[in-house]
Every structure is written in C-alpha cells, then in structure tokens.
C-alpha cells in the first residue's frame, strides 16, 4: 500500500509541475531569461540598415529598431539588466545561425516573402523597396524599354534578378542578363561599363551611388520592375510568445511616430562613417505601413 501512496504522490506532483509549466516561459523568451542575454545578428555593410561604423560598431536603421525591441523584451521579462550580444551574419549564415539559436533577431535588410516564411518569421515591416536600375547618366537610359539588347547585371540569388528575367521575357527586351556575386561587384560592372544597368532594390542602389567615387554620374530609374516589397526583422519560426512581444514592440514604435524620426535620421541626413546622405524621403507606402503595421509578405498589402 505504501508504494501505491508514493506513486500517487509522485503523479500528483507531476501534475502540479506541468500545470505550473503551462504558464512558464518557453522558447526564446525562456532562453533570454535564463541566460540574461539576447543576441542580435547584424550585417557588416548593409547601409543604412545595419553596418559597421568607424569604431567597428554595428549601427543603422534596423539596429535602432532592434534595440527598441530589446527594451520591450527587458520590460516584458521584468529584468534589471539584459546583456545585448552582437553577432555578424551574412546572407549565407543568417539562416543556420538563426536555426541553431546563435542569434535571436536578425537586424538587416532581409526581404520578407512567402517562400521564406516557411522557414522563419518576420516582425512588422520596417521598409519597402522596389526593384529599379542604376545607370550612368551619360548612357541616356530613360525607361525599362531602353534596356533592349543591352547587357544588364543583377545579383545572383536575389528576387531582383528573377524579376529582371521575367520582364526580359514579358517585354521582349532581348537583354543580356549577367549575374554578379554581390552588390558591390554588380555595381562595379556598371562602373567599368561591362553592363549598362544594375537591377536591385532601389534603396541599396541609392546607398551604392552615395558611396561611389562620382555620385553625380549615376541615376536610379523611375521605372520599377516590381511592387514595393517588405523588409522585415527576422526571428525564429514557431515561437508565438516571443513573436507577440516583438510585434507589439515594433507596432508601438511605428505607430507612435518615433519610427519616422529614426527613419529621417538614417535616410535623409548625413550618416556615419563618411557623412553620406541617401536623400530618400519616406514613401507614402511606408508611411501607411507605419500607421498600420503588418508582417505580411504580400506586396499587394502595402498600398
């Protein structure tokens, strides 16, 4: 009989523990509470979203937003101190590092699309960008149709090169499309006249032009290859508790008007380290999104 009583007690104890467990923290939040640290993934040259300044410290628009999220997480977990660890990521490492728990948030310029949402989650959109092309003013290009029969470059593996390929077929341009390894090399192809145009997210083109030797030689096309697509801060999938805290934090930031001030700091004023000015005022679409934050990957939802 004694044995049975012990087993009964043990069962009861298990029940109580699991009941309590249901209210306890899980996933990323639990991990942050246990370690007292949160890790942000940053990019080293994604100007002005996330890049290194002259002190090798990651700064940028997405970094500022991430620090606001960190404040919210700290408040949510009622922590006195929350250590922020910084971990560099590239486009090739951001997924493995997110999956294995090295980083908790990726603060950069990652496009939020339906395909990627099968693997990760994104919080509310912090930027919208459309595919356009950069060209030398001396080449006299005006519209997408002017690319007929010309050599055009884009970065391999981007949605931009896909849109360019589609437009090439749909409009019968007969353009010679070449892929480049990264944005810097694609821009170099235009700089050295290997290609007449480089198709990419317009904001990245603006930053490449601002950082080039002769910014006045280049212009970005008015014509776009796509609707504005959303950039989002990436987090692990299937962690609803953490996503709720992060979404609430970004929504509060965007709707309060504070986000627009942060936007102006990075996109319309001189930014470190070289005092470049991207001269990109906030778009109507992004203004709308800030008023009604959403994490939708569908470009049609941003009008």
């Amino acid at each position: 009989m004694k044995h049975f009583r012990h087993i009964g007690l043990a069962l009861a104890a298990t029940f109580v523990v699991s009941q309590a467990g249901a209210q306890e923290l899980t996933g990323t939040l639990k991990n942050i509470k246990d370690t007292g640290a949160i890790t942000l993934g940053f990019r080293d040259s994604s100007i002005p979203f996330s890049y290194l300044d002259d002190n090798q410290k990651p700064v940028g628009f997405a970094m500022d937003i991430c620090y606001k999220i960190v404040d919210a997480v700290k408040k949510e977990l009622k922590l006195d101190k929350l250590e922020v660890k910084l971990n560099p990521v590239t486009s090739a490492t951001r997924i493995p590092l997110m999956a294995n728990g090295t980083i908790d948030l990726e603060c950069g310029s990652t496009t939020n699309n339906a395909e990627r949402q099968k693997q990760v989650s994104f919080t509310n959109t912090h930027f919208l960008t459309a595919s356009r092309y950069v060209f030398k003013k001396s080449s006299g290009l005006k519209s997408i149709d002017d690319l007929k029969g010309k050599t055009v470059v884009s970065t391999a593996g981007t949605t931009n090169i896909k849109q360019l390929t589609e437009a090439n077929v749909a409009k019968g341009l007969g353009a010679n499309i070449i892929p480049a390894k990264d944005h810097a090399e694609a821009f170099l192809m235009v700089e050295t006249d290997r290609a007449v145009a480089f198709v990419m997210d317009d904001i990245l083109l603006a930053s490449l032009v601002a950082g080039s030797k002769n910014p006045d030689d280049y212009a970005v096309s008015k014509d776009a290859f796509s609707k504005p697509e959303p950039y989002g801060i990436m987090l692990r999938k299937d962690d609803p508790a953490f996503k709720k805290v992060v979404d609430a934090a970004t929504a509060a930031l965007y709707t309060s008007g504070e986000a627009q001030k942060i936007y102006e700091k990075w996109f319309t004023q001189k930014i470190p380290p070289k005092g470049l000015n991207l001269n990109t005022p906030i778009s109507a679409e992004l203004k709308n999104e800030f008023a009604k934050p959403t994490d939708s990957p569908n470009p049609d939802d941003y009008k």
């Binding site: 486009s91 395909e115 099968k118 693997q119 391999a156 593996g157 981007t158 070449i178 192809m189 290997r194």
Partner: protein, 243 residues
C-alpha cells in the same frame, strides 16, 4: 536546432521559371563540368610546355618557366580571376577593353582560362618533378641513340615522366573541378553559385549545400575511377609505375 527540413524542395519549381530547384542545380553542375574540362585542357597543355621548359638545358627557357610558375602559383585564385575579369580590360586600349567586356559568356571564358592558367603552374611543377625523378642516364642514352633533344623528350623522357606523375595529376584534376567554384566571384552560376541562389530564394540552406556536396562527390568519384583505369591501361610491367 529549430530548422524546418524540407527535402521535397528539390522537386518544387524554382522562382526563375526554369523547372525545379533540382534542374537549377543540375544546370550549375553542367556549367561546372564544362568550365573544369576546358580549364583542364588548358592546364595540361600549357603546364606540360612550361614543365618541359624548366628542365631544358637553355637558361632562358628555365628562367621563363620559373617566372611563369611563380606568377601563377603564388597569387590566390580568387584574386587572379578578379584581376583577369575586372582589371585587365581597364589596362588594355579602350577599344580592345570594350570588345573584351562585351564578349558573350565572358565570365565562362575568363573562369576557364583563369583556372586553367592557375592549374597549369601546378601541372608544370609536377611534370618537372616527374622528369627530375628519372635517372640521368635516360637522357644520355637518348642522346647516345642519336635522338635530338625534342625526340628524346617525345620518345623517352615524357612517356616515363607522365606515367610517374599520373596519380598526382588525378588530384590536380580534382582540384580543377573544385576550383571552378571560385568562378561565382565573376558571376558564373556554376554548381556552388546555383546552390547559393537556391539558398537565397528558398532559405533551405542545408538542403542546397548538401545536394551540391553530393554532386561534387559523385563527379569526383567518377574522375578517380576513370583515372585508375587510365593508370592501369598505360602501365608497363617492370617499370616503377608498373605492376
């Protein structure tokens, strides 16, 4: 690990509209093989010429061979491809530079020739070592038979030296295949390039690179097996490389 494995991804259509993701990788593999094959032909021919030059009695030929090998062997391949692709056309007269830049398939030709020259320096050193490993008497015997220097190389030294260096040449060939991966730096979408594209589009990193790894391993297995057959086929009983 919080990773969403999806091995079915290979059979889903790729966003470029060129079939499935697997098709994308296979087209990359085809380009890898084409680039490697052309590069290996270039490497074997120029490497053999330079290797022979390094063993000739002529001081000039020796010096040229030495300079060639040191030039191509001591610079990282990545840097070399960058130089050939981006810097060389800028140093040429404007007309020639523009012509070169506007060649169709410029990344392919640059990659094949660039990797070919890089590997040729290694082939040259192998061949030089192979010839050097032959007993000095061989050369003298050739001369005593009344063969000219060229004939001596053609009929005596090279057939022996090539047999000796066949196993290391196999690994140079494998290196040539692997080195084509560097060509993504100049925009050639070979196997590694396509794996990267697949990763960027679908975010299925591990599947993409696992597939690429397996494809590289398969190709290398084929090459190794073929070279073993070649070694057995050219073996001469009684020689150091024979059975």
């Amino acid at each position: 690990m919080n990773y969403n494995w999806n091995w079915g991804i290979f059979f889903q259509p790729n966003p470029m509209g060129t079939g499935t993701y697997l098709d994308m990788l296979l087209s990359g593999l085809a380009l890898t093989l084409k680039t490697a094959a052309l590069a290996w032909v270039i490497a074997l021919i120029t490497g053999s010429l330079v290797g022979v030059m390094r063993t000739l009695p002529s001081k000039g030929a020796n010096w040229f061979g030495f300079a060639y090998v040191e030039f191509f062997r001591n610079m990282p391949l990545l840097v070399q491809l960058f130089l050939w692709f981006f810097v060389l056309p800028e140093l040429l007269p404007k007309g020639a530079g523009t012509w070169l830049k506007q060649l169709p398939n410029a990344p392919f030709w640059t990659a094949a020739i660039g990797v070919g020259f890089f590997m040729s320096a290694r082939v040259a050193v192998q061949l030089q070592a192979g010839i050097g490993s032959l007993p000095r008497g061989q050369k003298m015997a050739a001369t005593a038979l009344g063969l000219t220097t060229a004939q001596g190389y053609r009929y005596v030294l090279l057939p022996m030296a090539f047999r000796i260096i066949l196993p290391p040449l196999t690994s140079e060939f494998l290196n040539t295949i692997k080195n084509t991966a560097v060509a993504i730096t100049i925009g050639l979408l070979e196997l590694t390039g396509q794996a990267r594209s697949m990763q960027e589009f679908s975010f299925q990193v591990f599947e993409a690179f696992t597939a690429a790894t397996i494809l590289y391993l398969l190709v290398n297995a084929v090459v190794v097996t073929a070279m073993r057959f070649l070694e057995r086929w050219v073996a001469i009983p009684g020689y150091i490389t024979g059975k």
